[in-house]
Symmetry: C2
């Protein structure tokens, strides 16, 4: 396998913009990434597009990726859409990375896109529930806020995790997001705001949940290194264990993917300077800190509350604002993480810049099936 | 790249079976393929699942592949869903092939599945139209029967292709399908039946169109060769050219993918003994014969009418019955082609066995966007 570099990154604004189609969002992000890389569109040799929902309603059911390459005037290349629930974007990143690493192509694009705000919150909650077992779990009413509410209760029972610790995740996310020009939410919030918000699935309230978002994000991966471009040091994709005796307070899919990436990159969890993790709900970020080895099992809540994951802490987690404040346009999320981490490693993150990061980690979960995450993708990027 | 073998194949019956979910169809096909390969499920190291529509309605929106691995008791492995319209199955085949060829894994599964008969023909026609430009072409009423009706008219105008030549494609398909135990249609038809059928999009009538189908198909790909297993000699995936001046009577996506495969496999079109091609409409098979180089441009109609593509002809095309008679459960189709070709190369195709084939070619199209196929995947399998 040869080295692969994140040659360019691009992203639209995240948030409510239902007038822009998934195709348009994807094309805009890709154009920006190409411009950033200094790569003409005609040099793209393959493209993977991530999208979960555009076939619903009267949208582009199929060949959305080809609609993007057509818009860019790119002809004849392999184009594939991938879906892995909320890990779709990082799955596209992985497929594109492997194609360049193995020498199938020299330049590949991974682009993610999603338009969700055209749906009501109730409809979207029902739609997303079909990333669990749609024949068994979803019809029983197992929505994702419900799943993570149960997880939060169990984590509290086992480890004493408090609502204030969960709230600290949201406060950090909004503080970082307010420094990110593309973020959906641009205002800081306080612990009291989170604790006092309307309950959604107790103990989780409205401000413990990531929003519904529209957006697109793209990266250009290349076997050639433009000056200052980060290197992809590891990529792993795992599914879960789906055991009926799952405690639901750890995700084996994360543990497997992270362990593989640490091996491939030759690093320890303590080497990670900055991470973008899948904070779909505040409790999720608490658990990811444990599963990724940033803190001991059960101490994820205290770890966040201590400030260790703030910009300037031991490991800056979600400096972009994360799913919680940057927003969560499903297919775009995993790619947006790589956009943020590449920007951080290049030292171009402006007000939210982490001090001199050298090792960065991206982490997404996709779906939740019978007690475990259905998918987890982890990537490690380095500045070397 | 190392050699990759089709170690095992499996398929459900194709046809109307709306009581079986896409998950169930995929799992049944995968179990059969594993049994055929003599491979325990625990040895699967990665799985790609192809499906285009299961997220519509209240189906499994996401992580359908993990629902299959969970059913098989397989834990932790990378699982990805791919979609490329009607080329989804062969796209899954390609991704799984590359993973084994590059040494990422030793054993991978490609499985395709689709449930379509729960929809009315009118609804399905509208849904499938969203594999064109869903913002521009589909709202104008450009359905796939309409597209291929226009293509047939143009081909007739340019080359004199007759309705009887088109009908010969359907007659051959049904004759072959009647010999295939899993085919949707089990009765031969006559030229007069095709010419006398209700018109759908003139000159195409009902019997010029492939049916709406439910079904699943799976292959186990391995770096180890079980006795008699065919080798994958080439794989290519292309998108189209999307030119406004397209004649619509040739698919550059096919030409690009086929040329690449002939180069990779070191063969000429005349070396192909048996092929499964994307006969979504009779005119499509006529054009594929030309694009794949089986006959000169414009002579595809006469080529089929001559019997050259029958079992026993110069190149047996769609001995399975093809999309037209075996059926077309979208995500499953490209995988089912490989199932048929591996069966033919192993000499196990029973009454529809081609005489001693050594080189086999699978071809699918996906979508149709601005005058060209959005995607085309070609694979070459050999017995050596």
């Amino acid at each position: 396998m040869r080295d692969v570099y994140v040659a360019g990154v691009g992203t639209t604004r995240f948030g409510r913009q239902p007038q822009r189609s998934p195709r348009e969002l994807a094309e805009a992000a890709t154009r920006e990434a190409l411009l950033d890389a200094g790569t003409p569109a005609r040099e793209i040799e393959a493209l993977w597009l991530a999208n979960a929902t555009s076939g619903l309603g009267s949208g582009q059911l199929a060949v959305l990726g080809q609609m993007v390459t057509r818009g860019l005037g790119v002809e004849g290349i392999p184009v594939v859409r991938v879906e892995n629930a909320c890990a779709s974007g990082s799955t596209a990143m992985r497929e594109a990375y492997l194609a360049v690493a193995h020498g199938d192509v020299d330049v590949a694009v991974a682009v993610g896109t999603e338009s969700l705000t055209g749906w009501s919150t109730a409809a979207m909650t029902e739609i997303m529930a079909r990333a669990s077992d749609a024949e068994l779990e979803a019809p029983l009413g197992l929505t994702f806020p419900g799943v993570f509410g149960m997880i939060a209760r169990r984590h509290a029972e086992l480890y004493g995790t408090t609502p204030a610790q969960l709230a600290a995740v949201a406060v950090k996310a909004h503080r970082n997001g307010a420094l990110n020009p593309i973020a959906q939410f641009d205002a800081p919030i306080e612990i009291e705001d989170v604790l006092g918000a309307r309950r959604v699935a107790s103990p989780l309230g409205l401000l413990d949940c990531c929003p519904i978002s529209d957006g697109g994000a793209a990266v250009v991966l290349s076997a050639q290194r433009p000056a200052g471009a980060p290197r992809v040091a590891a990529s792993a994709l795992s599914s879960g264990r789906f055991r009926d005796d799952s405690t639901m307070t750890e995700f084996t899919a994360t543990q497997l993917a992270a362990r593989r990436c640490y091996e491939l990159a030759g690093i320890e969890p303590a080497d990670v300077d900055v991470a973008e993790v899948h904070d779909c709900f505040t409790i999720a970020e608490v658990i990811h800190g444990e599963d990724l080895g940033f803190c001991p099992r059960g101490e994820g809540g205290a770890f966040v509350e201590s400030g260790a994951t703030a910009i300037g802490g031991a490991v800056a987690v979600n400096p972009s604002g994360g799913l919680k404040a940057r927003g969560h346009p499903v297919g775009a999320t995993g790619v947006a993480q790589v956009v943020e981490l590449a920007t951080q490693l290049r030292g171009e993150a402006g007000e939210r810049q982490v001090d001199g990061p050298e090792v960065a980690l991206a982490h997404t979960l996709g779906g939740f099936v019978h007690g475990d995450a259905a998918a987890c993708a982890v990537h490690v990027l380095v500045r070397d």
